[in-house]
Symmetry: C2
DNA sequence: GTAAACCTTAGAGTATACTATCAGTCAAGA
DNA sequence: TCTTGACTGATAGTATACTCTAAGGTTTAC
């Protein structure tokens, strides 16, 4: 049983354009063609394409994925190289998730700010709010923002003046 | 105490180019200028800039951040709109984190594949590996990949044949 | 036989976010 | 005074990943 570009696109939630683009970039050399030159995808091609799509989702560029597929084609002598590429990408994804969780914290903080402001009818409600009135998680996030935005050096100097 | 573009860039881990670019896009209208037209950043500008950088990190485009800052400038009548933008962005970041965690699962699966292949000296070791020999977490990931890449319809049809 | 509904490639266009270059202004130090 | 260094805006260039268009080929239904 064979599948066309459009069928594959629908199943993997990509556009047919994107799949042809990946083909043009040399990522789909394993895909067979019929006598008219049309791509015909085998059942076993789906996992390969899914892995490529996953590497893409993980933040790898098409060029990097291409380099990886070249190593795959070279066979067993490149297993260690491939393992190292995957391990490196795991680190990158871990960092990206941390970055997003930090951004999410800021969004949580802003959500709280606006919910309180909405009830009070004005954002001025926050001007002299003591930390004790904030929920503990919000207080922690605010403290982290303060640490990141504060100029340590200036604070140190200020503290050093008797 | 005032700070220059370069000092601010260093403290917020952005390039001076980027900060001027944000200025050009209308994101930094709150920043004062000296008599020569140079940007002079106040201590209170750091948190504003940090929030902008966080929105950027969360995946918002510069255009979207600009729209948000316009609402901020309009004052208390736009609190609900701003809250809704932040809430929507939280959903987007949640989805993005889920997407990355799925990609990470695939990377974990590939790590295991290559570690086993490295020890065996060949990727052929996986050709007839029974699921019982896989660690449970790897088996779960492989099952998820199978569910995503398999054609449900085809399997249903196959099963329907007596 | 011809139109519809697929597929193909090449190549142009788009969006986003920088990133670099350039010519010019200004203040401070030797 | 002159040089150094940091700033300015305008504008051009780059990278990435699509996304679209155009021109053409097959197969199938009527």
């Amino acid at each position: 049983m064979y599948y066309t570009v459009c069928e594959v696109a629908r199943r993997l939630n990509l556009s047919p354009h994107t799949i042809r683009f990946y083909g043009k970039e040399g990522l789909l050399d394993f895909v067979d063609r019929d006598q008219n030159g049309n791509r015909i995808f085998k059942e076993s091609d789906f996992e390969k394409l899914f892995i490529i799509a996953s590497l893409k989702r993980s933040g790898m560029t098409i060029k990097q994925i291409k380099e990886f597929t070249v190593l795959c084609d070279k066979g067993d002598s490149t297993i260690l190289q491939r393992l190292n590429i995957i391990k490196k990408q795991r680190e990158i994804v871990d960092e990206e998730i941390t970055k997003l969780q930090d951004a999410l914290d800021v969004l949580k903080y802003k959500t709280w700010l606006y919910e309180v402001a909405l009830e009070a009818g004005t954002t001025a409600v926050h001007e002299h709010m003591p930390p004790e009135e904030m929920p503990p998680n919000i207080r922690k996030i605010k403290e982290r923002i303060r640490l990141l935005t504060d100029d340590m050096e200036a604070r140190y100097k200020k503290a050093a003046i008797p």
